[in-house]
Symmetry: C2
Subunit: 234 residues, 2 copies
């Protein structure tokens, strides 16, 4: 597949560009004494402080709140559940870990190539400040930062995909979403964007292979960002 109309690639970030789990696990381990199951803590945090409340916002069951607030809300409860002892300043640093995440190993090379041909940007439920911090720290050469915060909603709300295309001055069909998550790809396709699936089988930990297969009508499937550059002739 090579859609000549595509002029910009927008990327899901948590899971697709960066390894959120390793970053959160390492931050928690470095901040808290003891031998808690930091992996289980990170997984619970992702589910209860991010996936669940975002689902509630998108379905209209709760108003939009910044992602930093969503992540902060269950933190005391989760630390207690996993017997992780952390004072107020440690909790603030731990919250900041979501802006200090490392990209998967193929990301830097892949983006460098893709950028020669396409405008590239994140399109993420992470906040504008988190995305800007992550890009600075990891040296990701985005052309601009697009957070769903700019539209007062979260993916997979159609307004997020349409808003990204509008900001870029493009029609939805001129923008391709790259993501490891079927729900994100379905949302993008429903809004008229092109779609590319990149599997991240280790997102929930090495060897867990918890990734779901892509939707049947995904335009492009690539093993990683370098393979994506190959497939797009970049």
């Amino acid at each position: 597949m090579q859609d000549e109309r595509v002029a910009a690639l927008v990327f899901d970030v948590f899971g697709t560009v960066v390894d959120w789990r390793s970053g959160v696990v390492e931050a928690a381990r470095s901040l808290a004494p003891g031998d808690a199951d930091f992996g289980a803590f990170a997984d619970d945090w992702r589910r209860e402080g991010y996936l669940a409340p975002i689902g509630e916002v998108v379905s209209g069951r709760r108003p939009f709140e910044p992602v930093e607030s969503l992540l902060a809300e269950p933190l005391d409860r989760l630390l207690g559940r996993h017997l992780i002892e952390l004072g107020p300043s440690g909790r603030r640093v731990l919250l900041g870990a979501w802006a200090r995440l490392d990209p998967w190993p193929d990301v830097a090379d892949g983006l460098d190539r893709l950028r020669r041909r396409y405008t590239i940007a994140p399109l993420s439920n992470a906040s504008f400040a988190q995305l800007t911090g992550m890009a600075r720290r990891a040296g990701l050469g985005w052309d601009c930062i697009i957070s769903t915060e700019l539209f007062g909603t979260y993916k997979p709300d159609a307004a997020a995909y349409l808003g990204a295309a509008r900001l870029l001055g493009l029609d939805p069909g001129e923008v391709m979403l790259v993501a490891a998550h079927p729900a994100d790809l379905l949302g993008a396709a429903a809004a008229g964007l092109a779609t590319a699936y990149v599997p991240r089988p280790d997102e929930w930990g090495p060897g867990t292979r918890t990734g779901e297969p892509p939707p049947a009508d995904t335009d492009l499937v690539a093993a990683d960002f370098v393979a994506l550059a190959d497939a797009l002739g970049a």
Copy 2:
């Protein structure tokens, strides 16, 4: 002056970072036959398609419209006034010239240095798409793109400066505006930002020296972006 609180620098773009006049003059000259006064045309366009309508939006006399619409509105009239003949496709290309402007000679080196120490971003009345296109073309290494379009207003509305700080996750006093225009610096200071003035005496043409002096309480004055990096220890 060295305010240790400042973590991010945001830059006015048209006039401060890029030489809009030369870019528009050259685009018009390359598109239209004849020997019209393309400089006078560019100056009128800046005044009647940009400064005047933006002033009306900020003062509440007209609703917000994208800057591309403001620029397009008087174009037929201005081409007629200056006896410049241009068909519909030429007019579209000419409008696009506002996203294909070259930076002043000191900008690339200055930004490269400033970026090591500070988060850097445009904070401009140009559209998000114009700023993204300009940065790609000129290789400006912004950490993110901030257009006042994101706030549905234009500078010097306080909401623009406060919105930029909020998106960056910073207090207004942790952000410094860099601009060649007193009204912009006054607006930023009123919103609580730090301010730096960089004169651009050739903005309205070589030798015109039409720049106004900076407001008295401007935090920092630097001859260009390299001198700004010197002054900020970057």
